[in-house]
Symmetry: C2
Subunit: 416 residues, 2 copies
């Protein structure tokens, strides 16, 4: 038993080993680890940017009006008011989408629509609502404008040479607009890993079947399919395999052909874990380097990488553990490799703990919670039950040395 305990890794060391093994295998192949593809802009939502994006232009490319009004020299309007307008000569009209072929001198103005280019010399725009036309060539302006009022200057949005988005950015809707504004329509993004899921266990049946006594339906495959999509990765395939060395080996090898990551779930009993470990070790030519994790839940987790840099993970049978370990290990490595930093939506929320909770000594502990009236409330129920995870809003992490957290303390709740 002591020997077994020594073989257990912390989550951090397991992830570091996984990163090193993955990198080493890919460097051996002489190519970058995660593949990069150019995608048309409309397909880039939620993809990870694989290069820094620089703008070769100023945006806007010209001084632009943000209102319908009269482009003018702002200082001409000093002292203007509702009762005391300033009179300016109208010297032209800017047409939408065209560059004006005239300029504005003090005492002059020109009509410009929203989005129109300001003539040279103009440094402010009076809204039509604050102006009154006197004949075809004179306008009374009833408000005083400051420099740059109702306009944006060339380069205000993006300046030439500026890095508008950094490598590793998870592309959000506004980023897509920003990329369009600088003329980037084919975007270098990381190709999502293809992930296969294999569920094993003689007691496990396809969810469309009625289990016989002693059997139960496959839960982990479907939870994992959701988690794969949640991370923005691709589901390469999924399959239920009987709990037999040769059948499992055949299934894993078949899945590996079309996958960057192969998950084997359901081998948490001693015997099953051994079969999974044996199969993964054989397939990867001795590539199993993590045999268990000091994590609760999630101990019976096995990691291997083959010579081609494909990742093989034996996940716990316990559904909550399987989903969490997938997220932390595959999601963790994906973020390390791509630099992908998800937005505010993936960040933890602060909440105060509603009751005392205990950690498991010597293990990093994950506690599912709901958030109710700003308080983090642990989700009761024995571990391993998928309903508890479905009910939870998120989870709290307690470090390996932590004994627990007291009621009323502030905690970080990571969204599920």
């Amino acid at each position: 038993m002591d020997i077994k305990l020594l073989e257990v890794d912390t989550l951090e060391s397991a992830l570091e080993k996984l990163h090193k093994k993955y990198r080493a295998a890919h460097e051996g192949k002489g190519r970058s680890s995660v593949e990069v593809e150019k995608l048309p802009l409309p397909k880039c939502y939620n993809r990870v940017l694989a290069e820094d994006i620089l703008s070769s232009e100023n945006i806007p490319a010209f001084n632009r009006s943000t209102v319908d009004g009269y482009a003018l020299c702002a200082k001409d309007t000093q002292g203007a008011s509702d009762s005391l307008p300033v009179f300016l000569d109208v010297v032209g009209e800017v047409k939408m989408g065209e560059a004006p072929d005239f300029s504005i001198n003090p005492g002059q103005c020109a009509y410009v629509p929203t989005g129109g280019a300001l003539p040279d010399g103009a440094d402010g725009v009076a809204m039509v609502e604050h102006c009154q036309l006197f004949g075809p060539s004179q306008v009374a302006v009833y408000s005083a404008l400051s420099f740059g009022h109702n306009m944006v200057f060339q380069g205000d949005d993006v300046s030439q040479g500026q890095t508008i988005l950094k490598k590793g950015r998870v592309i959000e809707p506004a980023d897509m607009g920003l990329l369009a504004s600088v003329g980037k329509t084919e975007i270098p993004t990381y190709t999502p890993w293809k992930v296969s899921v294999i569920s094993t266990g003689d007691e496990i049946v396809n969810p469309s079947l009625n289990p016989k006594p002693g059997q139960m339906r496959d839960v982990n495959t479907y939870g994992l399919i959701g988690e794969i999509q949640r991370l923005g990765l691709d589901v390469a395939g999924f399959r239920l395999v009987r709990d037999d060395y040769q059948m499992l080996k055949d299934g894993v090898m078949e899945a590996a052909k079309m996958s960057d990551v192969v998950l084997v779930s359901g081998g948490s009993s001693k015997g099953k874990k051994d079969v999974t470990e044996e199969v993964l070790d054989d397939i990867t030519s001795g590539g199993v380097f993590v045999h268990g994790l000091a994590v609760k839940p999630g101990k019976p987790t096995i990691l291997a990488v083959d010579e081609q840099g494909r990742i093989f993970i034996g996940l716990p049978g316990h559904p909550v553990a399987a989903l969490l370990m997938f997220r932390l290990l595959v999601g963790g490595l994906w973020e390390m490799e791509t630099g992908g930093s998800p937005g505010l939506g993936a960040m933890p929320h602060k909440a105060r703990l509603a009751v005392n909770i205990a950690a498991s000594p010597g293990r990093k502990t994950f506690q599912l919670v709901t958030i109710e009236d700003g308080l983090a409330v642990p989700v009761l129920g024995k571990s391993g039950l998928i309903a508890t995870m479905s009910k939870a809003h998120g989870y709290i992490v307690m470090d390996i040395n932590q004994e627990g957290i007291n009621k009323g303390e502030e905690v970080e709740v990571w969204p599920l």
Copy 2:
């Protein structure tokens, strides 16, 4: 001008009107508003559940072991310890995936693997690590177990007749596992609306082109394509149309054929707004019912619904406003119609404001912010610039009657 002001709606009243008009049109058609389709479970991630889901079974269907060990009567182990084991007779072995054909009486036990069914009479499982086999038929148990230790009871996860997920639930990975566990593999979900985007404006060019002086690239279409996907809706198509009544009308009518929602973006100048409004009103037979919003940014927003219940929205040209109004109006109506309540990731984060900010009197004000060291910092830069939105982590909402918020006050930051 006063008449125009009277025509402006609050965001809340606009959304309420939109809801009523949408409902009325759909009730006239005699069918439910948002269509429902049955989807195979693996395709359900992030879809909205269209019915309550009840379980017709107990999950687990039998008392199940959570460890490899010996099923026994827990009270037999009272007082057992490392130095003083309890001896029990081994009366059988449970096979994985099979129901045991024997039961356990006091003084007896049986081997059971993780996930195996407990024999009748057993109410606890001693882990193999805490047991020692003496010959083929006797086991020494070195630890005292409480009732139900290392096992889950029939119905612990889900009890028969229980509603496991409610209509309106946005399906998360754990929910997919839960649905699988109760044998639901074809899931009733709301069919995402098909949304078309039309950008209009003579100064607007396709982002793959180099704009001539006075022209600029289409930003809103690509930001909106991202927002549509972010809401889980479908992009039906997108198109750039010249700023002309007939061309816009043709474009909108063409788009409407394949859409539940048609967005027209880029008509924010007075003249353009009028054309957009005229087109939408003509197409919907006088269906325009909102002519502007008391919102900053977002004032020039137009809403119409046609007799078939299709939604037409004239969005501001201002990209930040266009994206926000789409999210609040289309996203708002989608949530009202489906009951869709997104998870913790879409909930606002609490932060303290780094500086004083002012609201716009008489308008609901949206202020973009970043979160830095737990402080909400307003994103500087003139409104209307897409780079400001790309930079921001989220936004703060100030109500129509609010004058502003002081530095240090706690605010809610909604993720972008």
